[in-house]
C-alpha cells in the first residue's frame, strides 16, 4: 500500500506547478490550463483522503468539482474567444483596459 502522504505531496507539487503557470505564463489559454491543473491536484487530494477514511463522500465532491470545472471551461473559453475577437490577442498583459 502507498501511504496517503505520498499522494498529498504529489498533489501539493502539482498545485504549485499550477500556481507557477498562472503567475509566469502570459498566454491566457495556458493560464487557463494551469487553473485546470490546480483543480486536478485538489481532486487528487480529495480522493486520497476519501481512500484513507473509507468515506465515499470525498469522491462525490470530486464528481461535483469535475462538473463545475466543465461548465467553467466552457464559459471561460467563450470569454477568451470574445476577448480575442475584440482585442486580436490572447496575451493577458495586453488586456489591461481596466488598469487604473
Amino acid at each position: 500500500m502507498v501511504p496517503t502522504s505520498y499522494y498529498i505531496l504529489l498533489s501539493a507539487a502539482l498545485f504549485m506547478i499550477g500556481v507557477l503557470g498562472v503567475l509566469v505564463r502570459r498566454n491566457a489559454l495556458v493560464v487557463f490550463m494551469s487553473v485546470e491543473l490546480m483543480l486536478n491536484a485538489a481532486n487528487l487530494a480529495l480522493v486520497a483522503f476519501a481512500r484513507q477514511r473509507l468515506s465515499v463522500d470525498g469522491q462525490v465532491i470530486v464528481f461535483f468539482v469535475i462538473t463545475v470545472a466543465a461548465a467553467e471551461v466552457a464559459v471561460g473559453l467563450a470569454l477568451l474567444v470574445s476577448i480575442f475577437k475584440s482585442k486580436q490577442t490572447a496575451d493577458i498583459d495586453e488586456v489591461s483596459s481596466l488598469k487604473g
Binding site: 501511504p3 496517503t4 502522504s5 506547478i17 481512500r51 469522491q59 490572447a90
Partner: protein
C-alpha cells in the same frame, strides 16, 4: 507493487505538468496537460475509484481537452508569447512565492497526520463502486446534484449569449437618423 506503480505514474504526472509549464507552444502545453490528466486518472484507479477514473478520462481528457485544442487552433494563439515580457521582474518573484507555497502545503499536510497507511482488506470491498456513489448522489447529495444541473444550464446559456452574432457591432453602430 502498488508503490512502484504509484512512483511511475507520479513521475509521469509531474513530467506532464512541468512540461506544460515550460514549452512555448500552447498546442504542446495542451498535449502535455492531457498526459498529466491521464496519469491522474491512473492514480484514481490506484485509489480504488473506478468511477472517477472513467469520469476523469471522458470529461477531462476527452471533452475539456478537445475544447482547449479546438480554441487554441481556432484563435491561432499558439505562439503569442514570443514578444518580450514587459514585467519581467515578476518571474523570479513568482518562483519564490511558488516555492514558499509548496513548503507551506507540505508542512501543513505532514503535520495534519496524513502519514498513516490507508486501511485495506474486508472494509474496502464495496468502497468506491459506482452503485454506492450513485446512491449517495440521489439521496444525501440530491440538492447539490440538482444545483449542478442548473449550473450546466447557465453555462450553456452563457456561452450562447457571449458568442451571439452581431453583438459587438450592434453596440458600436451609430443611432439611426444622425
Amino acid at each position: 507493487m502498488d508503490l512502484i506503480l504509484f512512483l511511475i505514474t507520479a513521475a509521469v504526472a509531474l513530467i506532464g505538468a512541468v512540461a506544460m509549464l515550460l514549452v512555448r507552444n500552447a498546442i504542446h502545453s495542451a498535449l502535455f496537460l492531457l498526459l498529466n490528466f491521464g496519469a491522474i486518472a491512473v492514480l484514481f484507479l490506484l485509489l480504488q475509484s473506478p468511477f472517477l477514473f472513467t469520469i476523469q478520462l471522458t470529461v477531462y481528457a476527452g471533452a475539456i481537452m478537445v475544447l482547449f485544442l479546438f480554441v487554441v487552433m481556432l484563435l491561432g494563439a499558439e505562439r503569442i508569447e514570443d514578444s518580450t515580457d514587459r514585467i519581467a521582474w515578476q518571474r523570479p518573484l513568482s518562483l519564490l512565492l511558488g516555492l514558499a507555497l509548496l513548503v507551506m502545503t507540505v508542512v501543513g499536510a505532514l503535520r495534519g497526520g496524513a502519514g498513516a497507511m490507508p486501511p485495506s482488506g474486508e472494509a474496502t470491498a464495496s468502497f468506491g463502486d459506482p452503485a454506492t456513489l450513485g446512491a449517495l448522489l440521489f439521496t444525501r447529495y440530491l440538492l447539490p446534484f440538482e444545483i449542478t444541473g442548473v449550473i450546466l444550464l447557465i453555462a450553456v446559456i452563457g456561452v450562447v449569449v457571449l458568442n451571439q452574432r452581431g453583438r459587438h457591432t450592434a453596440v458600436t453602430k451609430p443611432p439611426v437618423g444622425d
